[in-house]
């Protein structure tokens, strides 16, 4: 991640701190759960659009060069394998969001040029949901999605 982006994130988190303080004093969050480096705003945002905007300060354009690989049906929502793959060049970040989860932002990978073209991980899916893959490449944001049906929710 470029320094300028980090600075932007820092500014955003500084702005968000005041509301975070309120949340802590209201007992909604325990202080130990709040790590300085963790992008709290993006990871607790209730919608995918808010989460993407909080993390990148931009909205993503739909692109076929981002591939979200997930089974059509997942029997167990607690363990849903997801792969994000891209043919884009100069990839700086790959992120995974589960649209219908209470907090959609699931994982955000900041990548160096040596990193390959895909990342695979297992996620929890509470109910049938689009899985959104976001790729930041050459300073621009791209995304794609795929729907997964779950027969048993993964967050209970």
């Amino acid at each position: 991640m470029k320094l300028s982006n980090k600075r932007r994130l820092f500014l955003k988190s500084a702005v968000a701190t005041s509301s975070l303080g309120v949340a802590i004093s209201a007992g909604l969050l325990t202080p130990s759960a709040v790590l300085a480096s963790w992008p709290e705003t993006a990871f607790t945002a209730k919608s995918s659009a808010d989460a993407i905007n909080a993390l990148f300060g931009a909205t993503a354009t739909q692109s076929d060069k981002v591939i979200v690989d997930v089974n059509d049906v997942a029997e167990n929502g607690a363990i849903v394998p997801v792969t994000i793959k891209t043919s884009l060049e100069n990839v700086e970040n790959m992120s995974i969001l589960v649209n219908e989860n209470t907090s959609p932002m699931t994982a955000s990978f900041n990548l160096q040029p040596e990193f390959g073209d895909s990342v695979s991980i297992r996620v929890k899916v509470a109910k049938p949901s689009d899985i959104i893959g976001v790729v930041k490449a050459g300073g621009k944001l791209y995304s794609n999605k795929k729907h997964v049906k779950v027969t048993q929710g993964g967050c209970g």
Partner: protein, 103 residues
């Protein structure tokens, strides 16, 4: 409970394929203890960093919505014999790291 990770690092041509499996509860903080009805406190890995031969190749922020006992797989440009290292931190402040030689 202390967290551990198993890593498989295998060279394939000029790429190295990583498969990593942690043992970690990844508690969201929203689940209730079925006997007492009390909330089980949040405890999830929220940051990881991967290095190849001392150089960072990826760092990531994770949410509690990563499955219990996280599994992660990816590849990177690297060589057999290099050292590959993963370090992580969870939301309770526990940290750990593990290094392995690429086979």
């Amino acid at each position: 409970m202390s967290t551990s990770v198993k890593i498989r690092a295998k060279a394939k041509g000029d790429m190295v394929v990583i498969k990593a499996l942690w043992s970690h509860p990844m508690e969201t903080g929203l689940r209730k203890n079925k006997d007492t009805g009390e909330l089980i406190p949040a405890n999830f890995i929220n940051h990881i960093k991967c290095e190849s031969a001392g150089k960072e190749i990826m760092n990531a922020d994770w949410n509690a919505t990563i499955s219990k006992d996280p599994y992660l797989s990816f590849s990177y440009t690297g060589n057999k014999g290099d050292e590959f290292k993963i370090s992580w931190a969870d939301s309770t402040g526990e940290t750990g790291e593990k290094a392995t030689k690429v086979k």
